[in-house]
């Protein structure tokens, strides 16, 4: 429930305030390190971090690593989503399969996926595929559970109505089950994309020769705090950009849904 007692200021004002918070954060950081209250060795300085980030982009070294991370994220997201949709449908339409596999699915989902990273590195080497595999294990379950739910939650009345209108089982899949399941998938898109990136970066961090996680790990290894913070900054910027893109896609594809009532698990 939105209370109308307290009116929020207009959008430009809010944007200005948000920008203010960002500037204040960097300003406080700058003051604390400048006055040596916080050691610049351990905390870096915002000036140095921004300068390093700028230099990395200017020289172009960062693009290669960023490209690797984004490629791993995209692959993990696509493979995880497609597999999640396929298995979600299969399980939802085959009750016996779903009942038999239920405890195992839950067990695997409860497993902290990071422990799989060394295994994947062993199996798939230090290239991108071990990171993609890690991301897939994260994305798959989110999409899988949402598709399963989406297919199960199709209104029986909508289903009966479509059948009375002459829908074949192929029509039902295309016009009823799929849109319903996809609406749940899209509502978990933010989480799925985020997890794909987590898989990529954590995988790189634990062992690789390229990528943002690799760069952060390298910087950490030589106590280069400025490098670590610079890597985090680049990562943050791109996560925010990807999230904005996802929001746009979501708005386009889910325009049939009433606002402010998001279904789906997060």
């Amino acid at each position: 429930m939105r209370s109308h007692a307290k009116r929020l200021p207009s959008r430009p004002v809010i944007l200005l305030l948000q920008l203010g918070v960002l500037i204040a954060f960097f300003l406080i950081w700058h003051l604390l390190t400048d006055t040596k209250i916080l050691s610049p060795f351990f905390f870096g300085t915002p000036g140095a971090v921004l300068a390093r980030t700028w230099a990395d982009f200017a020289s172009g070294v960062i693009w290669y690593h960023l490209g690797i991370t984004l490629l791993e994220t995209a692959l993990a997201f696509i493979i995880g989503t497609v597999a999640g949709i396929a298995f979600g449908f299969w399980f939802a339409r085959a009750p016996l399969v779903s009942v038999v596999f239920d405890p195992y699915i839950k067990a695997v989902n409860a497993l902290p996926r990071v422990v799989l990273a060394p295994i994947f590195a062993l199996w798939l080497g230090l290239g991108i595929w071990s990171k993609v595999a890690l991301g897939v294990t994260l994305v798959f379950f989110i999409v899988f559970f949402n598709v399963y739910q989406g297919v199960k939650e199709v209104s029986p009345v909508v289903l009966a109505n479509a059948r009375m209108l002459g829908a074949s089982s192929r029509d039902l899949f295309r016009h009823v089950y799929l849109p319903s399941a996809l609406s749940w998938v899209f509502s978990s898109l933010h989480t799925a994309v985020g997890f794909a990136m987590v898989g990529a970066v954590v995988g790189e961090y634990l062992g690789s020769a390229a990528g943002l996680g690799y760069r952060i790990h390298q910087a950490e290894g030589v106590f280069d705090t400025v490098g670590v913070f610079s890597g985090m900054l680049v990562l943050t910027i791109f996560v925010v950009l990807i999230d904005a893109a996802v929001t746009m896609i979501e708005k386009r594809l889910l325009h049939w849904r009433p606002q402010d009532t998001g279904g789906g698990q997060h």
């Binding site: 109505n161 059948r163 016009h175 009823v176």
Partner: protein, 274 residues
């Protein structure tokens, strides 16, 4: 061919009994309908009234082919109903529109399922939208329409595939009284245009009398049976609001209500027991 179709009733239920296992899996099973037999002639408008929980929807689901009866059978134009009844259109009580399709695409859906191309289905759906008074609302999604408008879309969606018999399960029960009477009149107009058979389920006796050629009364459940049949020989065309004031209407209402009242009381007592 036409004569054969005219000879066979649009719908015929023969001794239909529907028994469901009890929800908790043990204990006694629940019989919704017991030995229901009735026919609906081609072009006839028949209403079925009964108290809540009297298995009205169950009988409709049997006629539609959505539910296989435990005993007895349903025939539609002489053909036994096995699987979905292809001659029937069904208007549900609950929201049945596909929320991810626009109003126009919802109306066009039935044609698409029958293999008509998307473009042509849309083109043919347009006049149906204006026929139910929704010209210019084609690109709205169901959540952007009012309850009455959604029912209009559902009506157009059902009628566009030209069903020979229309099954309606309390289609207007969720609407306010004014909208409801408007919808009832519009339905009667559309029905008068090409006289399809209609089976109209309602718990509202006035609605049943105002619209139908014949009213069937169901007893209170469980194990409801048909206990009364009344011919409504009021003149057509009718206005559902005005006809309620006529003496013939009142006499019919009194007669049927005398029988229905006991069942409603029984049904009410049972809902309290449950």
């Amino acid at each position: 061919m036409a004569e054969a179709a005219a000879a066979a009733p649009a719908l015929q239920l023969e001794g239909v009994t529907c028994t469901f296992p009890s929800p908790d899996g043990r204990g006694r099973s629940y019989t919704a309908v017991q030995g229901a037999s009735f026919t609906v002639a081609d072009g006839e408008f028949v209403s079925i009234v009964g108290p809540t929980g009297s298995g009205k929807s169950t009988m409709l689901n049997v006629a539609a082919g959505l539910l296989k009866p435990s005993e007895g059978r349903a025939l539609s134009f002489g053909q036994p109903v096995t699987g979905i009844n292809p001659k029937a259109g069904y208007m549900f009580q609950a929201e049945a529109l596909m929320p991810w399709k626009s109003a126009l695409d919802n109306v066009a859906a039935g044609l698409e399922f029958r293999g008509v191309s998307k473009a042509e289905a849309r083109e043919r759906a347009l006049p149906w939208l204006s026929r139910v008074g929704l010209e210019g609302f084609g690109d709205r999604f169901p959540h952007q329409l009012s309850g009455g408008m959604r029912k209009r879309v559902a009506l157009a969606q059902t009628l566009i595939v030209d069903p020979k018999i229309i099954l309606m399960d309390e289609p207007f029960s969720a609407l306010d009284v004014q909208t409801r009477q408007m919808m009832e009149n519009e339905l009667l107009d559309l029905w008068a245009a090409d006289r399809k058979s209609v089976v109209f389920i309602t718990h509202d006796l006035e609605e049943a009398i105002a619209m139908s050629d014949r009213v069937l009364v169901l007893s209170a459940g469980p194990g409801s049976r048909l206990i009364g049949e009344y011919r409504i020989d009021l003149d057509r065309p009718r206005d559902v609001a005005e006809i309620r004031m006529t003496p013939q209407f009142l006499a019919l209402h009194q007669e049927i209500w005398a029988q229905l009242r006991d069942e409603v009381l029984k049904g009410y007592a049972q809902t309290k027991l449950r």
